[in-house]
């Protein structure tokens, strides 16, 4: 029982690590206040769920779950290229509301608020991922690969260009950097990993509905990025573990389920306030929050 509970938590941690690392690339490294991340997560989850239910293989589904949000991110980045700060945040937030509304109301495709049940667990190379321990290995491998890909990007000349854009976009342009294209690639890469995380989420729960993709579901991911520290990958991992585990004691207090959700949000808010007061750069951050 306890083993099963811990495996569940570890799977959630790996999925959140992938999601948060993607957000760290666009927010922490590039300085794009991207509030549309949860929408890319949703697109990945729904596309993967629908394709898996149609009997398509896991690798195809997860690839589409990455590519489809990346395509949406491309169009979003073209539309928002000249926007910064609050304006970019508002536009990407609006995008996340549009995707949520579609998930809720395009019932023919998404089954609306009833959600999509019966998503089959992956099976490949003769391995059945129906058991949670096997699924944990799969999600852990994908999380580790994600970490090393994002790390490679952030240490590359392109990654340093993203940081330069975050610090001073005009100065980066005067050094010959095509900042519009770089921001676009950053958002596309970020959304690709959000989509992959969404796919794993759908496969893991075998059921998705729009309530998993509301703005309030983005809050813990944003908190992870801030608490871990902007532009810090080890910080992202550390903060993911903390943020996933933080509200877990609420389960054991005997609170009614209607209070656990708001209680979780209050805990995140309180924790974020404490971090901002006592560790304004997060645990491992090197960048000041502005």
């Amino acid at each position: 029982m306890i083993d099963g509970y811990f495996i569940h938590l570890l799977i959630i941690i790996t999925i959140y690590v992938i999601l948060a690392l993607g957000l760290q690339l666009s927010v922490g490294f590039t300085g794009l206040l991207n509030l549309g991340h949860i929408a890319f997560y949703a697109i990945g989850a729904y596309s993967s769920a629908l394709l898996a239910k149609a009997g398509l293989p896991f690798w195809f589904c997860i690839a589409v779950a990455g590519i489809l949000p990346a395509m949406f991110a491309y169009f979003l980045s073209v539309a928002t290229n000249k926007l910064k700060g609050d304006y970019l945040a508002l536009t990407t937030l609006a995008f996340s509301f549009v995707v949520y509304a579609l998930a809720l109301n395009w019932a023919k495709l998404t089954n609306g608020s009833l959600g999509i049940p019966g998503i089959p667990r992956p099976q490949f190379f003769g391995i059945d991922f129906s058991s949670n321990s096997n699924f944990l290995i799969l999600s852990l491998v994908i999380a580790v690969v994600t970490y090393f890909i994002i790390r490679m990007i952030t240490l590359s000349p392109f990654g340093k260009t993203l940081e330069a854009i975050r610090d001073d976009e005009i100065a980066a342009k005067t050094l010959g950097k095509n900042t519009a294209l770089a921001k676009s690639v950053s958002l596309i890469t970020s959304s690709l990993f959000a989509g992959i995380a969404g796919s794993l989420f759908a496969y893991y729960l075998t059921y998705i509905d729009p309530s998993s993709f509301t703005f309030s579901n983005l809050i813990p991911i944003l908190v992870i990025v801030i608490v871990g520290g902007l532009a810090s990958l080890p910080g992202t991992i550390f903060a993911t573990i903390i943020i996933v585990l933080l509200p877990e004691p609420l389960r054991f207090l005997g609170l009614p389920s209607s209070l656990i959700g708001p209680g979780r949000q209050m805990l995140y808010a309180l924790f974020l306030l404490l971090i901002l007061l006592y560790k304004p750069k997060g645990f491992y951050g090197k960048v000041d929050l502005e």
Binding site: P157, F158, K160, A171, L175, G176, K177, A182, K286
Partner: protein
Amino acid sequence: MERLILSNLLELKNMHKSFGGVSAVNGCSFEVQQGNIVALIGPNGSGKTTIFNLISGILAADSGTIVLDNVNITDFSIDKRAKMGVSRLFQQSRLFPNLTVEENLLIAMDLRNFNLFSRLEASHEQTKKIIEILDLFELRKKLHVQAKTLSFGQRRLIEIARAYLLPHKILLLDEPLAGVTPRLRDEIAKFLIKLKEKSETIFIIEHDMNFVLNLADEIIVMDAGKIIADGTPNKIKNDKIVIEAYLGEL
């Protein structure tokens, strides 16, 4: 040292730029010749930095033409102009504060935009260039520190180094001596004299008249968005209009 004048490297033709009815640049035309150091002087608000912003593409001109090395760059983006060889030092600090000094310099030297699969590391040649310039400014020990930890003067020196290390045809230096200590002024002055000996093409805005008169091959004087005089330092020093509009203030 004998200086060989090759051709016009930069040409501005009939440039106009207004902000809400206020004319910041009003019909300016001039050339900067290859290998020359040209100083742009004038009272505050005369339009000097606007001229630099027009050349580097930060502002779009209302009308006029900018030609760099026989290529019309008037409609080019900022990054394309930089790739064409326009390197710019800003009046205010524009280092990337969260990057190290080395990263600030390397990012200027490495013009590959989309290399995602290798580390940003200096080649042997790049390291040599970086160390050479940091030694000149006595800042080698700051190589791996974040730029935001540097003092104002140190930031200024690194910014000058960064503008120099960006592969360029022309250096636009906006008040390189502003706000630095006398010792740093001497260091920067020595560096610019060294660049002059290397026949670098430099377009410089500077208020220190003694420095400008000693360094520049040609001086352009602006007032209220217009060019009121241009010529050799000796000619400018004795120009009545210039004395009234600018030098007389000193």
